[in-house]
Amino acid sequence: MLGMRPLIWLFIVLAPNGAWGATPSVRVNFSSDSRNGPLDVSNLNRQFRLSQISEQVLGRLDNLGGHYFVESGVTLTHPDYSSVTLVDATGKSRLLSGDVRGTVEPTAEVTAGYAKGSHSVQVGWRGALTDTPFASQLLRATVAESFFAQTTTLGLSLAYLGQAQPDSFFLDKDFLLKLRPNRVHAYEANVSWDQTLTENWKGRLQAGVSQRVEERPLGLSLIARQRVALGDRLFAGLDGIYAEEPGGDLKNERGYFQQFGVTASISAEPIYDFLVTVSYGVLWERERDPRDLSHVQVAADSYALALAFPFQNLEAQTSGRYVVTNTGIKSVSLTGSLLWKL
């Protein structure tokens, strides 16, 4: 975190209040994730335990020239590779954490956008700043257009990813050792439709296609979200997701994936601007492999609590989430966020 101080001061110096009519802000995010349980669904005795934290500082200038914004920042991740197994050409396995220990992985990102009336466009880049085992570069572009006094919004988002992977072999279905790709390219395209339905109800439908080209078959997804105001201070949400790989070449030892999830949430505002959200979700994941007729299912219950509260020109958010699966994996995540409007 200390390494981010120069970045914060640089942003404060370069973003004086009122420059080009801009509105500067700084956001500091923190997240931690720890989980333990059986590593492999086919061998529940093989346990793992991992813990990862990351810190992020983002500087943002809104209303640049009236309609533009730019945001940039750095994320420091303390990865835990103690559950990642690498296999060499002789079939001998070792943990990646034996090769990479005690590192901090910095990632930078820049996003710029334009919004005027019913039109908005934004482009962004995020990439690793050092040579890490899974270093990646991500490019993303989003376009949205609103209609009917902004009660209908159609959006299109495109993403391209290039990611490194350490050398590792896997045993294919013919019991031959094969090298995994050490460079993966991936793309994702989503179209979305946001619709105001009444003065208390709105929804979103999103359909997507994505693929990690060297590893996986094509994946399709459909997401439906609804938000309902039950009163001035009470709100409900219901989100559903369905995703699957319908077919195509299987490029490694894994079968076709399928996913179905539902999350329900209630948000209340007991005092002005202080928002409390509780949610419960269940996610079913399935893998079927026609080569050996295997079929595996893992289901997870997810319980979450989130708080958001502004204080003068600061806005704080925090959340916690507990997830437990039918295979005994337990996961606890904590996040914190502080937005400072300068």
Partner: protein, 66 residues
């Protein structure tokens, strides 16, 4: 059939256009925001669907069952 579809389309457009005058105080409340998740979506443990970045949780391996 074409006329039915056209009529439905006109009704839909008319319905959406009439929503332009509704009171948006509740619709614009932060709790109604579609774009941001107040709580991050749950991690996946078996598949890596939904993320081209690979599986979550720091293990980095997108095709491992962990």
């Amino acid at each position: 059939m074409k006329w039915t579809a056209a009529a439905i389309l006109v009704m839909l457009i008319n319905g959406c256009a009439s929503l332009g005058s509704v009171d948006r105080s509740r619709l614009n409340h932060p709790a109604m925001d579609m774009a941001s998740n107040r709580v991050a979506p749950p991690p996946t443990f078996l598949t890596n669907l939904g993320s081209i970045q690979g599986s979550s949780g720091g293990n980095g391996c997108s095709v491992c069952a962990h």
